[in-house]
C-alpha cells in the first residue's frame, strides 16, 4: 500500500501535465464544435466527403508505402553492397523536409512546368500534369512516408534470426515460401506499427496538401479554410475532433492486429 502511494505521488507531475496540455484542450476541442458544428458536418455533404477522401488517401498512401518499403527494407537489411549506406542516406533524406517542400518537389516533377510535362511535350505528346490531382498528392505522401517506414522495417528485418530462413529452406521451401512463411510473418508487427504511423501522418499532413491539393479537399485543408478564412470555429473544431477519432480508431485496430507493437 505504501509503495502504491509513493508510485502515485511519483506519477502525479506527469499526470498533471497530461491533463493540462492534452486532455483539457482535447476536451475543449470536442465541445467547441457544439451542436451546430456537428450538425453542420452531417448536413453538408462536402465535409463528410472530405473526411472519407482523406481516410482513403491515407489508406492508399499506407498500402503503397508499405509495399515499397517492405521490398526495400528486406533487400537493404540482407544484402551488403558498395554504396549501400549512401543509398540509405538518400532514401532517408525526405525526413528533413517540411511537407511544403515535398509538395514543391512534386510540382517540379509533375506540375505544369515540371519535368514530366517538359519531357512528354518534347516527345511530341500531351503535356502530362498530375501534381495537383490525387496522384500528385499520393506521390508526395508516399515520398515523405517512405523514410520512417523503411527504417522501421529494416530494423525489424535485421532482427530476424537468419537461421529461420535457413531452416525453412532446409525443409524444402522455395524463395517465395520463405517470404510467405518466415520473412513477412517475422516483420508483420513492424509493418502494422509502421503502417499505423504512416496512416496517421498522412491523415494529418498539411504542408504537402497545402502546396498541392487545389482539386481535392483533404480534411486538414478544409479545417484550415473553415478556421482562418470562414472563421467558422465550431465546424473547424468538430472536424478536427472527428479526424482525430477516426485516425485513433484505425490505430487501435492496427494495434490489436499487431499484438500491441503498433504505436
Amino acid at each position: 500500500m505504501h509503495d502504491r502511494l509513493r508510485a502515485g505521488l511519483l506519477i502525479a507531475p506527469a499526470l498533471a501535465i497530461f491533463l493540462a496540455f492534452f486532455l483539457i484542450p482535447l476536451g475543449y476541442l470536442a465541445v467547441a464544435g457544439g451542436a451546430g458544428g456537428y450538425s453542420a458536418i452531417l448536413t453538408e455533404p462536402r465535409f463528410l466527403r472530405s473526411l472519407v477522401s482523406t481516410l482513403l488517401v491515407a489508406a492508399a498512401t499506407t498500402v503503397i508505402t508499405l509495399f515499397i518499403s517492405t521490398i526495400m527494407g528486406l533487400f537493404l537489411a540482407r544484402v551488403r553492397f558498395r554504396g549501400r549506406s549512401t543509398l540509405l542516406a538518400l532514401l532517408t533524406l525526405p525526413l528533413a523536409f517540411p511537407g511544403v517542400v515535398v509538395g514543391y518537389l512534386v510540382i517540379m516533377l509533375a506540375g505544369r512546368q515540371g519535368l514530366i510535362a517538359e519531357v512528354s511535350m518534347a516527345l511530341g505528346g500531351d503535356r502530362i500534369v498530375f501534381a495537383y490531382s490525387l496522384a500528385g498528392l499520393l506521390l508526395g505522401y508516399v515520398y515523405f512516408s517512405i523514410p520512417r517506414t523503411l527504417l522501421t522495417l529494416m530494423a525489424a528485418a535485421e532482427k530476424l534470426d537468419p537461421r529461420l530462413e535457413e531452416a525453412a529452406r532446409s525443409l524444402g521451401a522455395s524463395p517465395f515460401g520463405v517470404l510467405r512463411d518466415v520473412l513477412l510473418p517475422g516483420i508483420a508487427p513492424a509493418m502494422a506499427a509502421a503502417g499505423a504511423i504512416c496512416f496517421a501522418t498522412a491523415t494529418g499532413a498539411f504542408g504537402t496538401a497545402f502546396a498541392l491539393a487545389s482539386r481535392i479537399d483533404v480534411l486538414p485543408m478544409v479545417i484550415y479554410t473553415e478556421f482562418t478564412l470562414q472563421a467558422n470555429l465550431a465546424v473547424a473544431a468538430a472536424l478536427s475532433f472527428l479526424l482525430g477519432i477516426a485516425t485513433w480508431a484505425v490505430l487501435a485496430v492496427a494495434r490489436g492486429a499487431s499484438g500491441g507493437a503498433a504505436a
Partner: protein
C-alpha cells in the same frame, strides 16, 4: 535411404580473404554419425554448411551425395534435415505446424502429412503439446520439436549444428541420449557439430577434430584418446588441460599417474582438489615443471607433501609437435 557423402578439395575463403576452411577431402559412409569437434572458429560449422548447401566451396571443391555431384544444388533441393543451436522454430506456427512444415511445402497430401506429424509427436513425446505456441515450450521441448521437424520429411542426411549447447547440463545429457537412440533407430547419415568433447565421444561413430580450418585427426573416440595425432588433439580430447606434455614428446593422461609420499621424491604437491570420483593433485618437479594427476582419494596427499610419481601401465604416448 541414408547416403554416403564425399567432399573433394573443399575449402572456403570468405569475401574479406580470411580462410574459413582449408581445402579438405572427406568420406562419410552411409548411416554413419560423424561428429565435427573443435573450438569456435575452427571451421566445423563452415564444413557443415558446405554439406548442407548453405555455402558454396571455393572453386575446385566438390560435394557428392552417393557419388552424385550436388555442389551447386541449393539446400532446398538437397533433401537434408537441419537442427540449429537456436532451434530456429517458426514462431508464427504451433508445434504441429512446425513439424509438418517440410511436408506441406513439399506438397505431400494433407492426410498423409497429418499422419506423419502424429507419428513424430508420438515419437518425441510431444503429443500433448501439439497445439502449443513455440514460446510456451521449454528449451528441451523446443529442441525435440526442431528434431521432429527436421526428420519428418525423411531427409537423406541429418545435420546438427551444436543442437544442445543452449541447454543446461542435465537436460543436455538426457537429450543427448535421446538423439543417440534416434540416430541409431533411423540409421540416417548424420553430421553433428559440437565443441563439447563428451558429447562427441557419446554420439560419434567417428570424430573429426578440427583446428584452424584443418582436420587435425579423424577416428573413433578411443583412437583419438589413446593415439592423438598431435598435441592439439591430445589437449582437446579429454577434459580441458587434463594432459601434460613432457619434453614435447610424450603425453601423459592424468589418470595414468600415481603418487606415493616419499621425503626424497622429486615432486611437491602444490594443490589438491577433491572431485568425488578422483582426487585431482597438482605436483611440481624440482625443475619447475607441473603435472596434474587424477588419483584415488587419499588423505595423506596434502599440499606441501614430497611425492614420487609412478606411471601406471604403458601410458606413454608419442606425439608429434
Amino acid at each position: 535411404m541414408s547416403i554416403a557423402i564425399s567432399l573433394r578439395n573443399c575449402g572456403k575463403t570468405w569475401p574479406g580473404g580470411a580462410r574459413g576452411l582449408l581445402p579438405i577431402d572427406m568420406e562419410i559412409t552411409a548411416g554413419e554419425t560423424l561428429v565435427l569437434l573443435g573450438p569456435s572458429g575452427c571451421g566445423k560449422t563452415t564444413l557443415l554448411r558446405l554439406i548442407a548447401g548453405l555455402e558454396l566451396p571455393d572453386d575446385g571443391g566438390t560435394v557428392l551425395f552417393d557419388g552424385k555431384e550436388v555442389t551447386r544444388l541449393p539446400i532446398e533441393r538437397r533433401n537434408v534435415g537441419m537442427v540449429f543451436q537456436s532451434y530456429a522454430l517458426f514462431p508464427n506456427m504451433d508445434v504441429a505446424a512446425n513439424i509438418g512444415y517440410g511436408l506441406r511445402v513439399r506438397g505431400i497430401p494433407k492426410n498423409e502429412t497429418q499422419k506423419r506429424v502424429a507419428e513424430m509427436l508420438e515419437m518425441m513425446r510431444l503429443t500433448d503439446f501439439r497445439h502449443r505456441r513455440i514460446d510456451a515450450l521449454s528449451g528441451g521441448q523446443r529442441q525435440r520439436v526442431a528434431l521432429a521437424r527436421a526428420i519428418a520429411p525423411r531427409p537423406q542426411v541429418l545435420l546438427l549444428d551444436e543442437p544442445l549447447s543452449a541447454l543446461d547440463a542435465r537436460l543436455r545429457d538426457q537429450l543427448r541420449q535421446e538423439i543417440d537412440a534416434l540416430l541409431r533407430a533411423l540409421g540416417i547419415t548424420a553430421i553433428y557439430v559440437t565443441h563439447d568433447q563428451s558429447e562427441a565421444m557419446a554420439l560419434g561413430d567417428r570424430i573429426c577434430v578440427m583446428e584452424a580450418g584443418r582436420i587435425a585427426q579423424i577416428g573413433s573416440g578411443r583412437d583419438l584418446y589413446h593415439n592423438p595425432a598431435n598435441e592439439f588433439v591430445a589437449h582437446f580430447i579429454g577434459d580441458a588441460n587434463k594432459n601434460v606434455v613432457i619434453n614435447g614428446e610424450v603425453i601423459l593422461r592424468p589418470e595414468d599417474l600415481r603418487l606415493r609420499p616419499n621425503p626424497n621424491g622429486a615432486f611437491i604437491i602444490t594443490r589438491v582438489t577433491f572431485l568425488g570420483p578422483v582426487l585431482r593433485v597438482m605436483v611440481r618437479h624440482d625443475d619447475g615443471q607441473e603435472l596434474r594427476a587424477d588419483v584415488p582419494d587419499d588423505p595423506s596427499l596434502q599440499p606441501g607433501t614430497q611425492v614420487e610419481v609412478i606411471l601406471r601401465k604403458s601410458s606413454l604416448m608419442a606425439a608429434e609437435r
